[in-house]
């Protein structure tokens, strides 16, 4: 697997650190909603197919990335900076 960092170009997998599922949203820190916290901490969609996930180019520019990848084939569809993903509405 190679990941094309938007800043550094195509790089070896070994340069990247995997942070996991990027679809989870943390409840408000003051929230006392147990079900929401349970889901956030323990539950994962774990799809076979398209998966949205966080990677970091730790051995390069250190940028946080949001990668769209197929978990059944390891094919990568999209790579954007996490800061850009965070600015997208309704995530």
């Amino acid at each position: 697997m190679r990941i094309t960092c938007p800043h550094c170009g195509p790089r070896d997998l070994a340069e990247f650190y995997y942070w996991g599922d990027a679809t989870r949203t943390m409840p408000e820190l003051g929230s006392a909603d147990e079900a929401a916290w349970l889901a956030h901490v323990y539950d994962r969609p774990n799809p076979r197919g398209h998966h949205r996930e966080h990677w970091q180019h730790l051995g390069g520019c250190r940028a946080y990335l949001v990668v769209g990848r197929d978990t059944a084939t390891h094919e990568i569809f999209s790579i954007i900076f996490a800061r850009d993903a965070a600015r997208e509405p309704s995530k």
Binding site: M1, D12, L13, A14, Y18, G20, D21, E34, L38, A39, V41, Y42, D43, R44, P45, N46, P47, R48, H51, E53, R69, T71, A72, T73, H74
Partner: protein
């Protein structure tokens, strides 16, 4: 039915090996069963076997997407041990260990269980303290454990790098002598034959594509070979748990699927006579009876349902092996493979009734499922037959994440890839 006695071997050798019978029938799916088990791997087959043998439930089908034992039970590093720290794990895996000790007799099938010992190597005082603590915890619960000195390690692993100038010099280890290995395919085949003889239908090439529902309740499975109704549907699909639960409409669950690679070298004369783990990184290794070095390390670390890994882990595992056995650097690798692991949030399995009415779930084995096969089958069969969790698996209920009773042997927290 096939029997593999010395007399049969001789008879068939003299008659050109043409008279061997198939070990199990090629069953056609019936429209309805009492129990349908999804997954013809070790756990599914063992569950079917114990349902029939211990609980008299023989109207059972095992539906398998591919051929029996084509998943992780047919390709793993075969280590069997019960050297856990936490009592819930100790009691469960020790039951499994005791079942392994008599399994070949139980199945009348030689699973080649070899109690050659499993040793965790320690490389610093803190690690040796942790091993002493775990060994004492094991012994308190009646499980054998022995703390090895550096000299004792050298004695049982004569080829290993004992250099004091190594990056992670070996200080000792924690040995469980009763632990060891087994012939993995034989386990699947033995359980399959035993279940088949008691009337269980083993249906291969029968992928489940959905579930039959009556309102919320599961009433059977849709398969590529037609619908099969069942009073109870048991799911034992290891790495495919997320996918199968998805088919049932469950889109969030405390499991992530990851790929784990393993490696076999060309055959050598006996050089490693035990199973050992490297404590300076993550590596476990042994030598098969055929002579190949069998070893593996970490999972690749990213979500995957692809049965193949990537090169960074290969390099990592090889470098760790070289740290321990620089003398084996010239040995060539014969093959490697990747299997999909159902990594749970606390590193322990989930066996429970539910999460949907009519469904029974057995998953979350991370990459330690093989050694659990007998106890998992027995306890899961008990749970299905009596509609009540077996006492030993009550702690492995799904609601432990909600109640905070996690069984996290390594103390890693809710990051599946670290377990």
């Amino acid at each position: 039915m096939a029997e593999y006695s010395a007399f049969q071997l001789l008879k068939h050798a003299l008659t050109g090996n043409t008279g061997w019978k198939q070990a199990w029938r090629k069953a056609e799916p019936k429209p309805e069963y009492d129990v349908v088990i999804i997954g013809g791997g070790g756990h599914g087959l063992a569950t079917a076997y114990y349902l029939a043998k211990e609980f008299g439930i023989t109207n059972v089908a095992v539906v398998e997407k591919s051929w029996l034992g084509s998943g992780n039970v047919g390709r793993n590093t075969t280590a069997i041990r019960s050297n856990y720290l936490l009592p819930e794990n100790q009691h469960f895996y020790e039951l499994s260990m005791k079942m392994w000790e008599t399994l070949s007799h139980e199945l009348n099938y030689n699973v080649m269980f070899s109690q050659r010992g499993v040793i965790n190597l320690g490389h610093n005082p803190a690690q040796m303290d942790a091993y002493a603590r775990r060994g004492n915890a094991m012994r308190l619960n009646g499980i054998d454990a022995e703390l090895f000195t550096r000299e004792e390690v050298e004695h049982i692993l004569p080829g290993i790098n004992m250099s004091r100038s190594a990056r992670f010099p070996i200080e000792g280890g924690l040995m469980q002598w009763r632990a060891g290995t087994a012939r993995h395919d034989a386990v699947a085949w033995g359980y399959a034959r035993g279940a088949d003889r008691r009337g269980v239908d083993l249906i291969e090439n029968c992928e489940v594509t959905g579930f039959l529902r009556d309102g919320e309740t599961i009433t059977g499975v849709k398969t590529v070979r037609g619908d099969i109704r069942a009073r109870k549907v048991a799911v034992a699909v290891a790495g495919s748990t997320g996918h199968v639960l998805n088919l049932a409409g469950i889109n969030r669950f405390p499991i992530e699927s990851h790929v784990l690679q393993a490696f076999v070298s060309e055959a050598l004369k006996p050089v490693i006579n035990t199973v050992a783990t490297f404590g300076g990184g993550h590596l476990y290794f042994g030598q098969s009876d055929k002579g190949g070095l069998v070893f593996g390390g970490d999972i690749d670390g990213y979500n995957s349902y692809a049965s193949r890994g990537n090169l960074p882990v290969v390099e990592d595992v090889m470098s760790e092996f070289m740290a321990l056995f620089p003398n084996l650097g010239g040995v060539r690798l014969l093959r490697s493979w990747g299997g999909i692991m159902d990594m749970s949030m606390d590193g322990s399995p989930i066996i429970d009734i539910g999460p949907i009415p009519g469904m029974y779930l057995n998953c979350g084995w991370c990459y330690g499922g093989f050694k659990a096969t007998p106890a998992s089958g027995l306890c899961f069969a008990h749970t299905i037959a009596k509609d009540e969790p077996h006492p030993l698996i009550k702690p492995f209920a799904l609601d432990r994440f909600k109640t905070g009773r996690m069984i996290d042997d390594k103390g890693q927290g809710a990051t599946p890839r670290w377990h």
